[in-house]
C-alpha cells in the first residue's frame, strides 16, 4: 500500500506492507532510528512517538494506520542541534545512562509538559508509567522533568 506521512515536518511517500508496524516503518524505511524497540508487546515505551498530537506506542500501530498522519519523533525535538529544555534537563540531572529508553521517555515527557506545563509529582510519575527504564530507577528522570517544567 502507498502511504504518506509527515515526520518532523518532512513529508514521506512510501509503499509499505500492510502488516508492517509503524515503528519498523519509521526505523527501517525512513531510517529514523532514534525511536527504539524494547519489548514487542507495548509495555516498554521505547518506541513512543507523538502521532497527530497524541502519544502513541508505535509498535502498537500499523504503518498503514498512520497514512496521512503528522508524526513527531525524538529527532524532531532539538532545533538546529539546540537541545530543548527537557533534553538539557535530562543531561543535567543524569536522567539517562545507556540512552536506549531516552527517546521514548522524552516523547512522553514532552507530551506531558505540553498538556500540563506545571505537573505535580504524581502527574509526572503517571505520565512516565508506560516507559520502562532499566538503568536509572527513574528518580533522576523525575528530577529532570520537574526541572524542565515551568
Amino acid at each position: 500500500m502507498d502511504i504518506t506521512v509527515t515526520v518532523n515536518g518532512v513529508e514521506y511517500e512510501r509503499e509499505v506492507e500492510a502488516r508492517k508496524l509503524l515503528i519498523h516503518f519509521v526505523r527501517d524505511d525512513l531510517d529514523l532510528t532514534g525511536s527504539h524497540i524494547g519489548c514487542d508487546t507495548g509495555n516498554c515505551g521505547a518506541c513512543t512517538m507523538i502521532v497527530n498530537g497524541q502519544l502513541v506506542k508505535s509498535c502498537m500501530l500499523l504503518a498503514v494506520q498512520a497514512d496521512g498522519a503528522t508524526i513527531e519523533t525524538v529527532e524532531g525535538l532539538a532545533e538546529d542541534g539546540e537541545l530543548t529544555a527537557l533534553q538539557q534537563a535530562f543531561s543535567d540531572h543524569h536522567a539517562l545512562q545507556c540512552g536506549y529508553c531516552t527517546p521514548g521517555m522524552l516523547m512522553s515527557a514532552t507530551a506531558l509538559l505540553r498538556a500540563s506545563p506545571s505537573p505535580s509529582d504524581e502527574q509526572i510519575r503517571k505520565a512516565l508509567q508506560g516507559n520502562i527504564c532499566r538503568c536509572t530507577g527513574y528518580w533522576n528522570i523525575f528530577e529532570a522533568v520537574r526541572a524542565a517544567a515551568k
Binding site: 532510528t33 529527532e75 536506549y100 530507577g137 527513574y138
Partner: protein, 825 residues
C-alpha cells in the same frame, strides 16, 4: 591448613595532578547524541542487501529432534537460506568448556544438535529479505520432536532417576567443589549456640536490558574476515569462545560496538548467536542481521544463577559473635554452561561477606536443568552469596533475640583492620562498613523506629526495617578460574587505552571497553584533561569498541565493576606517556630547556618560569605528524601512546583455594522500611536509603546513577521479577506483561549517601562499582522478616517475595519456622 597469607599488593602512591576535572559531575559527553536519538545501537546498523535472521525455537523443554524439514520455508521468494544444527556441527567444533568433568563433556554448539534441552533453544535459523518474512518462513520449518521428561528443579535434577540432559556427563552434575578455610570443628566446639537453617532459595531473574541482543555481521571473502557489529559486552570472551569453535584466528573476528542499550552482564554470552550470524553471512554471501525479540531474550538469554543453600549451620556466641558457618550451595545452571561453572568460584571473592567470621565451609554443586542457560547478571554469583550471608545474620539475630543492627556492627570487618585479608586470601582494600550503616540508619530515621511501628500498627499495618550490607568486588583476577579447573591458563586482568595528539592538536582517546551507559567517554576525558592540563571539551573519546583499533587486550570489555580501575588506569598510563612525550618535544623546540623545567597548561607545553615561552599542542601535533624534518634522530616521540594496565595479581593457590581474587571492594549498605498489609500480604517500601563507598569518585553523579539503577533492579527482583517455569519447563514470564520490572509508579522514595575510602591499590584511588551486590534484595528480605516478628515469626527464606508469598508467611508461619532451629552447642 597453612596460615600463610596472600601477598597484598603494594600500596600505590597516588601522585594526583592538580585535579580540576576529576571529581566534578561534568556534563556527559554521551548525552548530546543520546538525547537527540543520534546514538548508534546495533539494530540501527544497516547494510545493502542484508538478510534478517529469525530463529526457530524449541517448544519443548527436553526432546529428541527426529527430523527437520525446511524445504517449504526455503521455497518462498525472498527467503535467502537457512542453517541447522547439523550444518553447525559439521562447520564448527563445540564451544570450549571451562569446567572439569563431568561438565567438560558437554558438546555445546551454536544451534541444537540432535536434541533440545530447554524451551526456546534455537534449532534452525532462517534468513530472509525482511524481518517479517523471516518470521513467517520460520513458521514453515517442520521440526518433528520426540518429547522427553524434563527436570526443572535443581534438587530433583540430582536424584538418581532424574532425566539426564547431557548423556556424556552421566548425570546432571556439572561441577562440584569443596571450599573450607579455618577450623570448623573448633569453631563449632567453641560456639554457645548453633543456628541451623534447612533451606534458603535465591531465585532466577536477570536485569533484562531494554535493548535485546543483536548483531550485523559481514563476511569479507577476500580476507576471510568477519566484521561483527554487535552489542556483546565482552568481546574478548566472545572471541576466545568463537575462534576455536569456528577454526579461525581471532584476527578474523573483528568486533565493533558503539552504543549499547544496557548490559548488566546479560550481554556477555551471545557467542552462539554470533557464530550463527558468521556462518550464515559466509554461506549466503551477504550481510545478515539478527535482533533478538523480547520473548527470545526471556526464553534463552543469560538468566541469573538460581541457588539453594541447604543444611546451613552457623556457630555463634551468645552475644552474637559469629564464629563460622557451613552450608551446601546447590546452583542451577540451566541447560548449558555458557559462562559457568565460573559462578562456582566468583562468590568466593566475598566469602565472609562484610563480616569477620574466619571458619567457613561451603560445598558447591552445580547441576543442569531444562531451563535457559545461566550467565552473568549484575552482582554475578556474589549477590547470591551475599544474600545468603545477610539472611544468616538476620535469622541468627532474630532467633537469638538480638538486634540485627547490633549483630552487624559487632561482626563487621572494622576500618582499622583494613586492608583485611579474608579466610580465603582476598584482600579487602579499604572501607568503613559501620560508618556507612550509621549514615544509612540516619537517612531512614532509625532512632524513631519504635514510634513508627506503633503508628503503623494503629493503621493496621506491620512495619519492618531491614539492612542489606554488600560488597561490589571489582577488577577480577581471572586466575580464580583455576579454582574451577586447574588446567585453565587464565590469570590476572588487563585493559588498554591509547591517547594521541593529532595534526591539528586533537587529543583522541581510544578505549578497549564496551560501555552500556556508564559514561566512559566522560570519565576518561576527565582523567586526560587533568593530566594534560587542557579542557575537558578538548578531549575526544571515541565511542565504542573496535578490535581494528588495536586498543584492546584479552580481557577488554565492560563487565564486573572495573572501569574506574582497569579502564581509567589505562587512560592515565597512556596520557602520562603522552604528556612526557609532549615535554620532550617541547624541550627540543624550545631550545633545549630541561624536561623538568616544562609544564603542561591551558593546551600548551611551556617553561614553568617563563610561561610566555610556550608551544601549543596544535604545533606539537603538526610537527610530529606532518612537519618533522630536522628533528633529532634519537627523539623517540610519536605522540600516539598505548598503555596496558595490568593489576598486581598472583596466581591463586589452587590446592588451598586461596588468593586475592579481586583488587577492589566497593561496599553498599542499604536500609529499607516496609509496611505490610496483613490482610493481603501487600506491602510497600515507605522509606529507603542506599549508601555507597567506591573510593575516589571521578564523577559523583555517574556513581550515584549506578547506585540508583542497581537499587531499582534489586527492588524489582525482590518484589516482582522471576523467571518462573511450570513443571514441564515452560517459562511463565516470557515478556514484560508477566515479568514485571519496576515502572515509574513503583518507585519508593530514595535517599542516597556515600563515604569515600580510597583504594590503596589503584592508581587513582578508585574502586570498580555499579553492581551493588543486590543490596536491595537483602534489605527488603530483612525488612519483611522484621515486620513479621511477633506475627508468627516466619523467617524469610526466599529472595523473591511477591505479595502472595508474604501472605503465605503470615498465614502459615509454621512452614517457614520449620526451616530453622537453634541448638545449644
Amino acid at each position: 591448613m597453612s596460615n600463610s597469607t596472600t601477598i597484598a599488593p603494594d600500596p600505590v602512591e597516588i601522585l594526583a595532578p592538580a585535579k580540576h576535572w576529576q571529581g566534578q559531575s561534568v556534563p556527559r559527553k554521551e548525552d548530546k547524541r543520546l538525547t537527540q536519538g543520534q546514538g548508534v545501537f546495533v539494530d540501527d546498523v544497516k547494510r545493502h542487501g542484508m538478510g534478517y535472521i529469525h530463529f526457530v525455537r524449541s517448544p519443548y523443554a527436553h526432546a529428541n529432534i527426529v527430523s527437520i524439514n525446511k524445504s517449504k520455508a526455503e521455497e518462498i521468494k525472498g527467503v535467502y537460506g537457512t542453517l541447522t544444527g547439523e550444518e553447525v556441527a559439521s562447520l564448527t567444533d563445540p564451544f570450549f568448556q571451562l569446567s572439569t568433568p563431568p561438565g567438560a563433556y558437554l558438546e555445546d554448539y551454536a544451534l541444537a544438535v540432535g536434541k533440545v534441552r530447554y524451551v526456546g533453544e534455537a534449532v534452525v535459523a532462517v534468513v530472509a529479505e525482511t524481518r517479517e518474512l523471516a518470521r513467517d518462513a520460520s513458521e514453515l520449518v517442520e521440526v518433528e520432536y520426540e518429547p522427553l521428561d524434563a527436570v526443572v528443579d535443581a534438587r530433583v535434577a540430582q536424584e538418581a532417576n532424574a532425566p539426564v540432559l547431557h548423556e556424556k556427563s552421566g548425570s546432571n552434575l556439572m561441577w562440584e567443589g569443596i571450599y573450607e578455610w579455618g577450623d570448623l570443628d573448633a569453631a563449632f566446639a567453641e560456639a554457645d549456640r548453633i543456628v541451623k537453617i534447612k533451606e534458603l532459595h535465591f531465585h532466577r531473574f536477570n536485569s533484562t536490558p531494554l535493548e535485546c541482543d543483536g548483531a550485523l555481521v559481514e563476511y569479507n571473502r577476500g580476507t576471510g574476515q568477519w566484521t561483527i557489529h554487535t552489542n556483546n559486552q565482552f568481546p574478548g570472551f566472545a572471541q576466545i569462545m568463537m575462534g576455536p569453535a569456528m577454526r579461525t584466528g581471532l584476527d578474523k573476528l573483528r568486533f565493533v560496538t558503539q552504543d549499547i542499550g544496557g548490559g548488566f552482564g546479560n550481554k556477555i554470552t551471545s557467542h552462539p548467536q554470533l557464530v550463527v550470524c558468521c556462518l550464515l553471512s559466509r554461506k549466503l554471501n551477504r550481510p545478515v542481521q539478527w535482533t533478538e525479540w523480547r520473548t527470545d531474550f526471556h526464553l534463552s538469554m543469560s538468566h541469573g544463577n538460581e541457588r539453594w543453600f541447604q543444611d546451613t549451620e552457623v556457630a555463634v556466641e551468645s552475644d552474637g559473635t559469629l564464629l563460622g558457618f557451613r552450608t551446601k550451595a546447590l546452583d542451577d545452571a540451566g541447560a548449558w554452561l555458557r559462562y559457568e561453572p565460573l559462578g562456582g568460584v566468583i562468590w568466593a571473592q566475598v566469602t565472609p561477606g562484610v563480616y569477620k567470621w574466619r571458619n567457613i565451609r561451603l560445598e558447591f554443586t552445580q547441576v543442569a536443568t531444562n531451563k535457559a542457560p545461566c550467565s552473568p547478571n549484575r552482582g554475578y554469583s556474589r549477590m547470591q552469596h551475599l544474600w545468603f550471608t545477610e539472611r544468616v545474620i538476620d535469622i541468627v539475630a532474630h532467633e537469638l533475640g538480638l538486634d540485627p543492627v547490633e549483630v552487624r556492627k559487632r561482626n563487621y570487618v572494622k576500618t582499622e583492620d583494613m586492608p583485611y585479608e579474608t579466610p580465603n586470601g582476598c584482600v579487602y582494600d579499604s572501607g568503613d562498613y559501620a560508618q556507612m550503616l550509621d549514615v544509612a540508619l540516619e537517612l531512614i530515621g532509625w532512632n524513631d523506629t519504635a514510634r513508627k511501628k506503633e503508628e503503623a500498627a494503629a493503621r493496621g499495618k506491620l512495619l519492618g526495617v531491614g539492612i542489606g550490607s554488600t560488597l561490589d568486588s571489582g577488577t577480577n583476577n581471572f586466575g580464580q578460574s583455576r579454582l574451577i579447573n586447574p588446567e585453565l591458563q587464565f590469570s590476572g586482568n588487563n585493559e588498554v587505552a591509547t591517547v594521541k595528539l593529532d595534526i591539528f592538536g586533537e587529543i583522541v582517546v581510544t578505549l578497549g571497553t564496551t560501555p552500556q551507559g556508564q559514561g566512559h567517554e566522560t570519565t576518561a576525558a576527565q582523567v586526560v584533561a587533568d593530566i594534560l592540563g587542557c579542557s575537558f571539551d578538548d578531549v575526544h573519546v571515541r565511542a565504542g569498541h573496535d578490535s581494528y583499533w588495536n586498543s584492546h587486550a584479552g580481557f577488554s570489555g565492560t563487565y564486573a565493576s572495573q572501569f574506574a580501575v582497569t579502564g581509567l588506569s589505562a587512560v592515565k598510563g597512556a596520557t602520562e606517556m603522552l604528556a612526557e612525550q609532549i615535554k620532550r618535544l617541547g624541550s627540543v623546540i624550545l631550545g633545549g630547556v630541561p624536561v623538568d623545567a616544562l609544564e603542561l597548561a591551558d593546551g600548551f607545553v611551556r617553561i614553568k618560569d617563563n610561561p610566555e615561552a610556550a608551544l601549543p599542542f596544535m604545533a606539537c601535533g603538526a610537527i610530529i605528524n606532518a612537519n618533522n624534518a630536522g628533528l633529532p634522530e634519537d627523539l623517540d616521540v610519536t605522540l600516539n601512546c598505548r598503555y596496558v594496565y595490568r593489576p598486581p595479581f598472583q596466581v591463586p593457590d589452587v590446592e588451598r583455594k586461596f588468593g586475592n581474587l579481586t583488587l577492589t571492594y566497593a561496599a553498599q549498605i542499604h536500609a529499607a522500611v516496609v509496611e505490610i498489609d496483613p490482610e493481603t500480604g501487600h506491602y510497600e517500601i515507605v522509606d529507603y536509603a542506599a549508601v555507597d563507598d567506591c573510593g575516589i569518585r571521578i564523577h559523583p553523579q555517574i556513581v550515584e546513577g549506578q547506585v540508583m539503577g542497581a537499587t531499582a533492579q534489586a527492588l524489582g527482583a525482590a518484589m516482582h521479577e522471576s523467571f518462573e517455569y511450570d513443571d514441564d519447563g515452560n517459562l511463565l514470564t516470557p515478556n514484560f506483561y508477566d515479568y514485571h520490572v519496576p515502572h515509574a509508579m513503583d518507585m519508593p522514595p530514595l535517599q542516597t549517601g556515600y563515604i569515600e575510602s580510597p583504594s590503596p591499590f589503584t592508581p587513582l584511588g578508585t574502586k570498580g562499582m555499579g553492581e551493588g551486590g543486590g543490596a536491595g534484595i537483602h534489605a527488603v528480605c530483612a525488612a519483611l522478616q522484621d515486620a513479621l516478628r511477633g506475627h508468627g515469626d516466619a523467617i524469610v527464606y526466599d529472595s523473591w517475595n511477591p505479595y502472595k508469598r508474604v501472605w503465605e508467611l503470615l498465614q502459615h508461619p509454621e512452614r517457614a519456622r520449620a526451616l530453622v532451629e537453634v541448638v545449644d552447642a
